[in-house]
Amino acid sequence: MTGSIMDTFFEECEELLEAMDAGLAAIEEGDQDPETVNAVFRAVHSIKGGAGAFGLDELVAFAHNFETVFDDVRSNKLELDEKLIQLLFRASDHLADLVTCARDGGQVDQAHHDVLIAALAEYMSEEEEDLTFEPMGMGAAFDPAPLSAAQEISYDIRFHPLKEMFATGNEPYFLFQALSDLGALSVKLDDSELPGFDAMEDGESYLSWELTLVTGEPRSAIEAVFEFVEGLCELSISADGDVEAEADALAALNAAFGMAPAEEENAVVAPLEQSAPEPVETPAPAEVEVDEAPEVPVEAAADKAPAAKKDAAKTSGPKPTLRVELDRVDRLINAVGELIINHSMLAQQIANLDASDTRDVETELEGFKTLARDIQEGVMAIRAQPVKPLFQRMARIVREASAATGKTAKLVTIGETTEVDKTVIERLADPLTHILRNAVDHGIELPENRAAAGKNPVGEIRLTAAHRSGSVCIEVKDDGAGLNRKKIRQIAIDKGLVPEDVELTDSEIDNLLFLPGFSTAKEISNLSGRGVGLDVVKNAVTALGGRVNISSTPGEGSMFSIILPLTLAVMDGMVVSVAGHTMVVPITAIVETMRGNADMINSLGSDGTLLSIRGSFVPICDVASSLGLRSSSHNEPAGVYLLVETENGDRCALAVDDIHDQRQVVIKSLDGVCGNVPGVSAATILGDGKIAMILDPESIVTASSSAAVFDTDRRMSNAIAS
């Protein structure tokens, strides 16, 4: 139970941290709306509140400091200057780290923690600093009694509610009931002050009670019962033996109640602390309360009434939402996948039927197909989430990277409402982080260099998300120096990644950055370096079924584009046959298809073949031979050529035997079944129930002849040029 509540707490923390970052970013941009400041305050406050419930003391303590400073901002005691905003950003980042540590275990950087605490303390006034966070009040006041019952003591309690008490909804009866839980209670009403009926004033309090409680609980337990009415009543609590002389009166009182007091207990000398005659400490002077009471609500009402109205006007209420476990959605997605497979099978069965007229059935089947697609889109929409939270996290990355490199850069985000599959968002975080660090570290120049080049000293990185014809396009564009192609080429040669005399186009040089083991950093900086190159980015994006590309203009900056499929579960594919096997090629990769004939084939060198299409040449890649299904048979035309475009814009013709169909297929992962198969990205189940491999054109082309593609392309360009 607590576990799942704690999970919710961490989920909520993520949302609160995002809200906090969004609020701080808005404030940095000059947002002066008090509600924005309030929202940030509430976020910190809620994190603290929740953390307290789970005993996450370190988190509570830091949130408390943060909150204290921010409260002064809220009440305009502190002015928000650039320095304070930056500190608040760092504090917010650190709070996020503390949340992560609390959730996943681990330790935050203690030095950093102390630095931030000290920096926050500078903004706190003396008294606030001294005020250590310590939950007080009822929780602390009421300690349950130890199991071994203490000596029972008889307490005399005199209770006279002031009329103000009744306005707060407190009822004497319930207080007595709570007291009776502590021990044997006797209650005597004192109505001696009750005037005649005519003299009675409405709302006045005339009644008092005299109570006797025999209990083993300490005095503090009794005081705790009256906690809420402190200051709203006249209260005196005295233990027997407090005053020797009172004993007789007490006995008389007890007798009057018809209660036989336990003689022995009465005789017991109470422990010193309890028997000490204490002056009645609880009732505060009633006048003070009465005087204050009318003032405070007026002030509070004046504060709030307009704010409340404004809030109500501003937010006409969020759309109702429902939180569902991801597992349930995934089950639904799987079921929809099966539904689509089922449709294919049904269609196939009907086609095989020996019926004379299947038109009616086919019409219905078409309706089935449309519905299945609707359901699929609906389910996908459940998983879809706006990229906003992801983008907001990236703002932090840029801040940190800027601080670490001494550069100034700001992140501009566009298209934050673009919705992408949840898994895609999760798995994009790492590659995006890497690209952004890279952009700050290598892209953006130092402020002085930027100024010298006539640029704004503050670099700008644009992070854009957009839907583009069935895919999601995410771009990271910086206005830095652009790629140093000469240097990149030299490094690639030095590292033996390309031959020394290679001729490369600009785009090919740019894409060398994605080669494994490539890193331009002279020393491994602790930023984008870390010994891993952009190949990690490429792998991550490829694993999502996407492509990544880089382009650059010297002096103006570089741009990374990541193109991703909208969903990871279903895709449109072309069903083809290769050496007797049925396979699927993703439609998104195919530019054009054509029947082969001998005239189109041109040999090049000993093993290269080119396909001529309307006067231009593209290298041919025989799918069957590259998958090892048969040895290559060059100069015979294949049945069909699929013209595909690789991520860096090169084209290649995939030779297959035949095309059967174009249809939606459900992607079934091969992970855990047969591991990673080169050239194959996943599998699917076709209408006839057979399993078909989904090909990965990119890796087929690369695997079959990566060098040859470069090479033929080069030679061809030269040939055409000359």
């Binding site: 607590t2 509430r42 509140g49 929740g50 009822m138 929780g139 709570a178 405070v296 509070a300």
Partner: protein, 124 residues
């Protein structure tokens, strides 16, 4: 008859904690995600006791108390304020607005039930 509690808090975590504790103790639990919703659903829920947070969007806890106690609704039910701080000032403000008592966060189940008991008499 179960005692009906209306809990108003913008924190899902706190709402969950309250729900877990109160339902286990046999209370009937209702909740609202901010002050505005709390006041809006109050007449329909008709709770025996209200627990409200102070810092909330769209109408804070003081606003809730004022509206519930105000002429429109004129509620007499006990209202407990949830507060992280035990600052005297905050309590005084809440009380002046008409709050019955307060629950200091972080609360444990025992102290929550104890507070409810003192204002409703409910054993649950």
């Amino acid at each position: 008859m179960k005692t009906k509690v209306l809990a108003i808090d913008d924190s899902r975590t706190i709402r969950n904690l309250l729900a877990a504790c109160l339902e286990e103790a046999g209370f009937e639990y209702h909740s609202a995600v901010d002050g505005r919703e709390g006041v809006d659903i109050y007449p329909d829920v008709a709770p025996d006791v209200v627990i409200t947070d102070i810092n909330m969007p769209n109408l804070d806890g003081f606003g809730v108390i004022e509206e519930l106690r105000g002429d429109g609704i004129n509620s007499k039910v006990p209202i407990l304020v949830l507060t992280t701080e035990s600052s005297a000032d905050l309590k005084a403000r809440a009380r002046a607005a008409g709050a019955t008592g307060w629950i200091t966060k972080p609360f444990d189940d025992e102290s929550l039930i104890f507070a409810l008991k003192r204002v409703t008499g409910a054993v649950a």
